[in-house]
Symmetry: C2
Subunit: 120 residues, 2 copies
DNA sequence: GCTATGTGCAACTCTGTAGTTGCACACCCA
DNA sequence: TGGGTGTGCAACTACAGAGTTGCACATAGC
């Protein structure tokens, strides 16, 4: 089993699934730009309905990328960097791990080649 | 417009879409573990058909996460860390950007609150 | 109290895609 | 040269989810 996949796997899973959708990334972008916004406000500048935005916000909320605050009759959403940061670290660690393994394999291949040359 | 989204947007887009699928992450994990593998080999330990694996590998290839090498009649795949590393950096920068904006908004809110208090 | 506006809920359509199966083709080996 | 094994291509099914629409409900403001 992979220890990288195990560490905070649920969070990473949700964040990756959430960020896979371009519309959701756009929503996040606008949200981080304004600091706070409601689904209705966000739907204004986008070519999709408010309900679609609401669904996207629900996904982002589940992924921990967004936090909802009820103020009177409206619900304000704000960006939450923690989950994103965690996923970035996970990804960087994974890339480093791949690099390590590739370097090891390259070493082994070169050693095998050298042995081959010597035996000839 | 967001300068972060613009920088290497295509690569990030592909990588995120590719990593969103758990099966593809599993394929990548096995691939990085073995260094090299064919679609047939990878399909052995997984509960899906070779053709499904082939399709996943095609997606990963398009995303730049994997490289294919033809050796005789078989096609060997290997992990390629560059695109993943680039995406990790993009994500870290995005998280930092969110942090910055949140800090700025918090500062503004506090300043507004202080002004409110003074005027009272 | 009455109306405006913002949310929530539910049912529906539709497209993308994960997965399968069947078969043809290419190549290694005896 | 012929059989076994690995790939590629194409058609098909099935399901998740992105988006819409309609309506009921709650709250702010007059």
């Amino acid at each position: 089993m992979n220890e990288l996949a195990a560490a905070g796997g649920d969070v990473v899973d949700g964040v990756l699934a959430a960020l896979a959708d371009p519309t959701r990334r756009q929503v996040l972008d606008r949200l981080s730009d304004r600091g706070q916004a409601t689904a209705t406000t966000l739907a204004d500048g986008l070519p999709i309905s408010r309900q679609a935005i609401v669904k996207h916000l629900a996904v982002l909320d589940t992924a921990g990328l967004v936090a909802a605050t009820k103020v009177g009759r409206e619900v304000r959403y704000a960006v939450r960097p923690d989950a994103l940061d965690m996923t970035a670290r996970w990804m960087a660690a994974l890339a480093a791990e791949w690099d390590r393994r590739l370097a090891r394999i390259k070493r082994l291949a070169e050693a095998a080649e050298a042995a081959e040359r010597d035996s000839r």
